[in-house]
């Protein structure tokens, strides 16, 4: 299978139709291939449709034009081969940490003893031992996201879709979580699509970065960001700083465009209200 693409995104458009107001073209003619066990970052300004693209791969939104193929099959619905981690964690607030992690395993009809063992293994992996019976409301942001990652890893999807997973965390927690994610990824290699608007995060985590344009989102460039060793000291190395610069130059223009789009929209909204 190596060398072949695990996810094929081909000429995908997506129009967002708000209940009131004009339809908005969110994605325009997006094509992208993702290789098995690759860590790919989708980088772009806010509102560029990068999360929309992720939701399309997840099967949460219907593909209207173009096609998305995962492991040889067109995407029609969500499925446990594609796990997702959201920015705001999306934990079931009425379930304890353990029950959250068990949920996917229960849906996969795993035998009880095995799923208990597996849930505990992932609780330990993300360092939440001792908090098994806590409810999400009793946890810090970082712990919530650890729970969410453990929940998704536990049912062992081939593909991990991450929607700005560290966007709601403070800077220190964020840095720790990035390193942890890389460690986990090295141990259990999965295909990862990681959505972010943080250039440094994209370069640090991903092997390839797909830069998206301001709305309507297009793939503007795909940049290799492979480094021999990804220890935390990497971020101070010359080659890393140069990569960040190169990508920042690509993104900056789009970020400025995105701001003016937003300003224009706010202007349009005002007279009608």
């Amino acid at each position: 299978m190596d060398g072949q693409s695990q996810i094929i995104i081909e000429r995908v458009n997506h129009t967002y139709r708000p209940p009131r107001g004009r339809p908005v073209l969110a994605l325009s003619d997006v094509s992208l291939d993702v290789r098995p066990r690759e860590f790919l970052a989708l980088l772009g300004p806010s509102g560029c449709g990068k999360s929309t693209l992720l939701y399309l791969v997840g099967g949460f939104l219907p593909t209207e034009t173009g096609r998305i193929v995962v492991k040889g099959k067109p995407v029609t619905a969500p499925g446990p081969d594609r796990g997702i981690v959201f920015q705001h964690f999306a934990l079931f607030p009425w379930k304890s940490v353990r029950a959250n992690i068990l949920y996917g395993l229960e849906r996969q009809r795993m035998p009880r003893a095995e799923r208990e063992r597996r849930a505990q293994a992932f609780i330990d992996l993300v360092g939440l031992s001792g908090f098994e019976d806590s409810y999400p409301s009793q946890l810090s942001g970082g712990m919530k996201q650890r729970t969410a990652i453990a929940r998704t890893l536990a049912f062992d999807p081939d593909i991990l879709l991450m929607d700005e997973p560290f966007g709601a965390l403070d800077a220190q927690t964020r840095a720790l979580m990035q390193t942890e994610l890389l460690n986990i990824w090295k141990r259990t290699p999965k295909t990862v699509i990681f959505v972010t608007h943080d250039v440094q995060e994209a370069v640090y985590l991903a092997e390839r970065v797909a830069v998206m344009s301001a709305r309507p989102g297009r793939i503007k460039a795909i940049i290799e960001t492979k480094f021999d060793d990804r220890d935390p000291g990497l971020t101070r190395s010359k080659e890393f700083v140069e990569k960040v610069d190169e990508l920042w130059n690509l993104v900056r223009e789009e970020a400025i465009k995105a701001q003016s789009i937003k300003a224009q929209e706010n202007q349009e909204k005002k007279p009608s209200s």
Partner: protein, 246 residues
């Protein structure tokens, strides 16, 4: 200490009641002393009137309320998920919402007669509205990301509905049921007062019309206490059920 203190106004009210009646500040047939009301209550319990009529009322109230919770809860959840149903039923709910449900008392009697059926139907119809609205609003507010998470972990639509939409709707649904609980008491007693041969409302009306005002007050206080206790117990139940919140 604070909990004990919060009952102080009740004690003061009781003392004031007794004093006003004893000092004949008010005609003693309009306001018999509380102690006499207490004695009348004991008589009503001994004679079995209070228990028999109470059982009839509680049966009607709980069956009506249970049907309203099941019907209204189900309807509200389905309306939130299926737009077509929403479009059809929402105007009916809005139309029915401001109607004083007691206006339906003669209608339900016309349909189902003087017995249990008409009271149960009335309570069902009246209590269904707040439950439906609670379930509807709660389910509409359920987080997209939770729905998607459950789906991606292998839950089918029905499973997701039960595992995500229902618990998401629970806080508002439970509040709707609390409103319905209070409404059930109102509808129960007023319908029994008007057309019935049994129940708390009937007993209040009967004792009032035969001049046994001590007994009448005893039944009124019993209903008030039951309403209060039901609400308190229900609130404890909610607290336990929603213990996962902060």
């Amino acid at each position: 200490m604070r909990a004990t203190l919060s009952y102080l106004p009740l004690v003061l009210l009781a003392v004031a009641w007794e004093a006003i009646a004893r000092l004949n500040l008010v005609d003693s047939s309009a306001l018999p002393p509380l102690s006499k009301v207490g004695l009348a209550w004991v008589d009503l319990i001994r004679g079995g009137e209070l228990v028999n009529n109470g059982a009839a009322s509680l049966y009607r109230g709980s069956v009506g309320l249970l049907l309203a919770v099941l019907g209204g809860g189900g309807l509200g959840l389905c309306m939130a998920r299926w737009r077509l149903l929403d479009v059809f039923v929402n105007p009916l709910v809005e139309l029915f919402y401001p109607l004083p449900k007691s206006a339906l008392i003669p209608v339900t009697v016309l349909w189902l007669g003087f017995g249990d059926g008409s009271k149960i139907l009335l309570i069902f119809l009246g209590c269904m509205i707040p439950v439906t609205i609670g379930a509807y609003n709660g389910a509409r507010g359920s987080d997209h990301a939770l729905v998607w998470s459950a789906r991606s972990m292998g839950a089918n639509r029905l499973r997701m509905m039960w595992d995500v939409v229902v618990p998401s709707a629970l806080p508002e649904l439970l509040n709707g049921i609390r409103t319905a609980l209070a409404l059930a008491f109102i509808l129960l007693v007023s319908s029994e007062l008007i057309v019935s041969q049994q129940g708390f409302g009937y007993l209040i009306g009967y004792l009032g019309s035969t001049g046994s005002y001590e007994g009448m007050y005893a039944v009124v206080l019993t209903v008030a206490f039951l309403g209060f206790a039901a609400d308190r117990i229900y609130q404890l139940f909610i607290q336990w059920l929603l213990r996962w919140r902060d």
